[in-house]
Structure formats: structure tokens, C-alpha cells
Amino acid sequence: MNKPAFTTYDTAWCPGCGNYAILETLTGVLNQLATPPQQVVLVGGIGQAAKTNQYITANGFSGLHGRSLPAAAAIKIANNDLTVIVNTGDGDSYGEGGNHFLHNVRRNVDITHFVHDNQIYGLTKGQPSPTSDPCDPLHKAAACNMGETFNPMLVALAAGATFVARSFSGDKKHLAEMMIAAIKHPGYALVDILQPCVSFNKINTFAYYKQRVKPLDDRHDPTNKLAAIEKAMEFGDTIPIGILYQHAAPTYADKRPELFDHIPLVDKHVPQSAVEDLIKRYI
């Protein structure tokens, strides 16, 4: 058997980390989709999840904390031939990068965003993230939100996302299905992947998620935005996983005349004569 195109390297993650399952699943999905590694750019910000791109044999862009989405969007705009996938954490995506999250949903560039959501800050060792559970004044937890917990599914839907899904690192088959659907979706696709942080999150453990996650059944219509909003608001004894919402809409490139011809921007050249004509318009 041939060596697969996408392989992995040693990681710097804690033993038992949910990131391993995500890395393994993503590598499998990339091999299954069979896009050459040279055509795949894996983008990350900063954090444990953001290191994912360091561990797969593809092009890699490790940017700044919170700023992976604008860079990823621009990579795709510059070269439409590339498959651009962001792997990064809940703090990077929803905290430091909150403004970019909101506006990249609106921008609808054809990129895929896998948020490794462990509801805690791991690399900085245990501070609450925007998605951490609310604090219970009677049972003080190390990492909980004094304010409202951020609901990324609901925010993405409100901002006009065209693909909103949730999955769980403990269900690799489901995760692989979500990843493939997200990568294939034309436009910005968000998959919020619940994963345990074995070192710091003692509340949202593997067992916690395992008990609660429940795949959406056939009765859920992913084209129904109101139904999606209802499912997005469920996060308690049951947590629905699956494609909450998917909607075909023009992507960024469909709205920009300079990108209409699908020729990668990086391959375009403007003739010297056109430049000179433009200059002469100011005579």
C-alpha cells in the first residue's frame, strides 16, 4: 500500500488530549478527499489547538493569536485553487478573535473553520474561555464564566453563516462526516468541535460530553434557520451535534468582479499598456 499523502508528526499535546482524535480524523479526511497536500493550507492562530497545522504534512500558516480568520480568508482570496482550513481553539476564535469571527461569517469566503472547543484556556493553564460554563456561586469551579457563556452556534447563525455544525472529538465517525461536509461547503463553514481538556477542565470531561451529545435525527431540517436557532440554544443535558444549518448562498468570490473568472488572483497579470492608460487618465 502506498504511503498516504497526509501524515502526522509528533505533537506537543498532553496525553489523552481531545486534539489527538481531531488530528487523526482530519488527516484521514484529507487523505480521503485526495486533494494534493501542496493545494491544502492549514491555518492556525495561537494555542494548543492552533498547533494542529504543525503536525500534518501540508502547507502551514501559524499566525497570531486571534487573527487566523482574516489571514485564512485572504489566502483563499489570493489563490482560489487552495483548500484553506483553519484549526484553532475557542479562545482564539471567540475571545481574542471575536471581531474577526463575526465579520468572517459575513464575508463568506470559501474557507473551513474547525474550532477545537474545550471550553477552557489550555496553553495558559486553566483560565475560563468565552464558552466556559457559567459560574455556580455555591460550587466554585476553577474556570467558569462570571458573565454569559458565549454561544458560537447562535452568533454564527445571527451573523448569517451558511454552514453551522457541531461535533465531538469522541465520535470520530461523526466528526469525519462533519469535516467532509464543511470542506465541501462553498463558503465559510464552521464546525464547533467539543473536546475534553484532560489537564484543566474538570467539568466538561470526556464522560460529560459522551453522556450529553446527541446526533440530530432526520426530523431536523438543516435548511430551516429557525429550527437551527432552536438547536443552537440547546446546551445542557443534551447537546445536539450535526449540521444545524446549511444554506447555499453566493460566496465572497461570487460577488467580486475581479474574481469572477475563477483564475487565481496570484496568476493574474495586468498588461503594461493598461497601467499606462490608467496613468494617462490623470493628464
Binding site: 501542496q38 504543525q54 500558516f61 489571514a71 485572504a74 496570484v266 494617462k280 490623470y282 493628464i283
Partner: protein, 559 residues
Amino acid sequence: MYNILLGGAAGDGIETMSAIFEKMLKQSGCHLFTIRDFMSRVRGGHNFTQIRFGNQPLHAHRDTLNGIFAIDETTYLEHQSRLSYDGFILCDESLVIDDFRAIKCPLKKTAANLGNPKVINSVATGALLKLFDIPLDHAASILKATLRADLVDVNLSAIKMGYDLLNTNYHQSPVETSEQLLLSGNTAIGLGAVAAGIRFYSAYPMSPSTSLLDFFNAQSSSMAIAVEQAEDEIAAINMAIGASYAGATAMTGTSGGGFSLMVEALGFAGIAEIPLVAVDVQRPGPATGFPTRTEQSDLQFVISASQGEFPRMVIALRDHADCFYQTARSLALAKKYQLPVILLSDQYLADSTTTVPIFDSSKIVRFDQSDAAVSATNDPPYQRYALTENGISPLAIPGKSPALVRVDSDEHDPWGKITESATVRNQMVNKRLIKLNALKEELIEPEFWGSHQCQLLLVGFGSTSGAIKEAVDILNQNENNYGALIFGDIYPLPTERLRHFATQVVEIINVEQNATGQLASLIREEALINCDHSILKYDGRQLSVDDILNGIKNLKGGF
């Protein structure tokens, strides 16, 4: 040579009137230099444009006025002290202006008779053209190119009726201007970027850089430029970096406040060695400062912005030709040395319009991606940060070669992977910094202007160039003793020509549009040369030729 001012409230149409009047002047054989002074508001207040024109090239504004067109009394009150004794004030007959220089005309009545009171400015334009003996030959075509189609005829009639209101009082022989462009500094930056093959521009609107974003938006589809109005300046610069990584010639632009937000990503471009050009069109700070006014106070900020140490280059744009040629050069240098290049402009240069010899795009030195962009291999694995003698690693483009290209904001090894090795850290810091050695070889020394036997040397940078040169010319008419060095390339600071003149002259005077003498500090730090006196201005209004002459006069007691 004449100097006139058109003034009124925001919303009075002074900007449009000025644009038409300037084109009329240029087409009829005048050189001109126009500055725009406007308030950060959409209606009301007091705005003016000041148009200096004549039959030789002009590079700066002067204070003394030959004429004022006053839409309101405020314009007269604000500027009458600068009007020469034999100057004029053109205004409507209804204005309460008690001055023997006033030429009161039925501007409003004429406009009303044409059925559109808003064409009053075109009536005045016609009157001014007659006063200065400018023929109406080009009026129709200029109006067509400037105004909405349904407004052309009525404005043309207005200009013609205004023309009949006055007699000619000034005349100068026209010169050939068909090989001249008429444009603003920001437009010239945009054209320079287009000529250098820009494919991606991202920005967040911020005065006085916004017209650059507008320019690229207008040229987007015809010049194959993806233009993104980002959610903030942090996104704008990170997008430019992403696009550049993917192989697109990319640029971002802002003013000091936005640049403050870009600072972390500037260092990212530095450590990740991703070509990037960032334009800082300066305005007075700190914080919101004076949004629509001018200053050169970001110099020390941009040369040191961002944590850590990495190579960068800063070029101060001196005039409209620099805006074109140096923007193109900056994009080439950013690619050649794989580092961030910062262009320093300011509101004065950005918004002023002038006649300038037609830009020659064949003179632009492009840096096309090296062979590595497409010929890199992945066996053995491609090293994005290969250690080389001059520090420059072959740059591959993702998807364009078999190489896998990985870049990192963390300290990284030659393959672009995170490292914490002390040895590799030293290698990488050194590798990045030695790129400056080669870059320093191609720095452009400051332009020298004046008498080579000078005893008194003015030093300046950026947009004060025109005023400094004209002041030196005037000073040398009396005593041929003045010279000036005007820096374009400013960081790293080229010091050879400065050292040469420093040994010759008696006094060095730094002329800067800031309060603390930031160029003088840089010169002291880089060349161990002290400036003896300073002429500084920081009220948001550009240093004029007259400010420099007055500054010299005031210093003379101290020489």
C-alpha cells in the same frame, strides 16, 4: 505666479469647484500646487483650498494670497490678513465685507436666473477664469468628466455667465502641460502600487488614508486587485500578510491610530519573513488627534513599532513623484528582502494636488518572484527559512511548486516549525538581521539641495521637501550659504552624505512637522551628529516656505 484661496463651509461645494478650476488651469497651460484644509465634519465649519499656479513647476504652498473667493464672511475674516494689498476678494454682492479689495458680483442672482442656486460656484469659477485670462476652451469637456451628466449644461452656462461678469486683470504666458499629470499624493501611491503589480489591498477607512482605499476600490476589477474593507486594522494587516504568503503582491494603508492596531502583525511579518508594505498617512496624534490635518510625528513610532527585534525599512515620501516611484520600489524591496516596508506619508501630501511629469512605469524596478517560487521541491522537505549567507531564503509559494510552505509567528526552525532551541534562536535572529546588510547597500542617500559650499544645512524628511527647497532657493538669492538634505529612505538611516556635509557646515538646522524633533533624534542616534537648531511646527497646518524663512530669521540672532 499666483496664489488664491477658495473658502466656505463644509458642504458648500468648494472641493468640486476646486477640482474643476484646477483642471481648467492645467489644461490652459499652468503648473499648480493645491492644498486642502478641511474640518472633520460633513456640513458647516470652515474649509478651504489654496491653489498656487504659474508657468513653472511648483512643489509647495505659500502664505501670501493674491485672491480669495469667499462664499461666506468667515472665509474673508479667516484669511484677509494674508491677502496682499493689491489682492482681491471675490464674493457675492450680498456679503457684508467692508474692504476696498472686495469685488462684489451678482453671483447668487446669476445662479438664480439659471434656475439652480447651487451653480453659484460655477459662476464664480467663470469670473475667476476671466480675471486670470484663462480661456474657456476646455470647460465643457472638464465639466463632463467631473459632474453628473444632467448638471453639465447648467454649470457650463454658469461658467460662461460668470466669465462675462468681470474683466481680465492678470495674465501670464502659458506653458506646455500636456506631459504633466494632475493628481493627489494618495492617487500617486495608488498608481505606483498598480504599476508594481499590486493584487491585494486591505484597509479600514481612516483619514487621511481613506482616499487610497477609494482609489483601489475604483480600480479593483480593471486592474485585478482584490480590495477588502476589513473589520478593523488588525484584520486589514493580517489579510495583507495572508495574501502575500499566498503569493499576491499585497499592501495595507492607514493612519497612525490604525497603525497602532497593526503593530503586533508588523512583527509577525518580520519574524515570518512575509513581504508586506504598510502605508502610514500621518495625521496629528496622539489618539484621535486632528483627523483631517497633518503632522510628521509617527517617525520614531514606526521605526520601533512592535515588540522584539526584526529588520524593517521605512521610506518617507517627499512629493508626488516619490509617492509613485517609491511605492513601487517598496513593494519590490519587501519581496526581495522578505520584510515589512513602511511608507510614511501625511495629510498634506495625501490631499494636495499638483502637476507632475507623467509617471514612467518602465522606470520601475520590479522584483518578480524568484525561481524558488515555482521550482522549490519537497524532497528533502523545503526549508522556508533556509540559512543562507545573506539571510535571504528562497521563497516558495503555496500550491505553485511541490514544496510545502510553512510559516510561523513563533520562533521556528528552517522548516518553519516551532522551536525552543537556543542555537536555532540565535541562528534565526541573526539570519533575519543580516538581511539589512544587503539592504543598506541599496539605500538612497538624502537629496541635496542648494549651494555645495553651504555653511548652514537644513535637514528634513518627507513632505516638507518642497517647502525646504524653495526656502533654500530664496535664502541663497541673498547669501549663497544654504543647503538642505531631505531624507526619503529614512530607516535604516543613510548617513554618508550627512557625514560629508556635517564636517563642512557650521550649523545644522532640523526642519520638521512635529514637536520633538524626531529626525534630529534619529540622526543623533545613527550618526552621532547633533543638530544645532530646530524649526518645528505641530499645529496641524503644514510648514510653509514662509514658516521656514521666518524660522531662519528668528534663529539668526543665535547664529
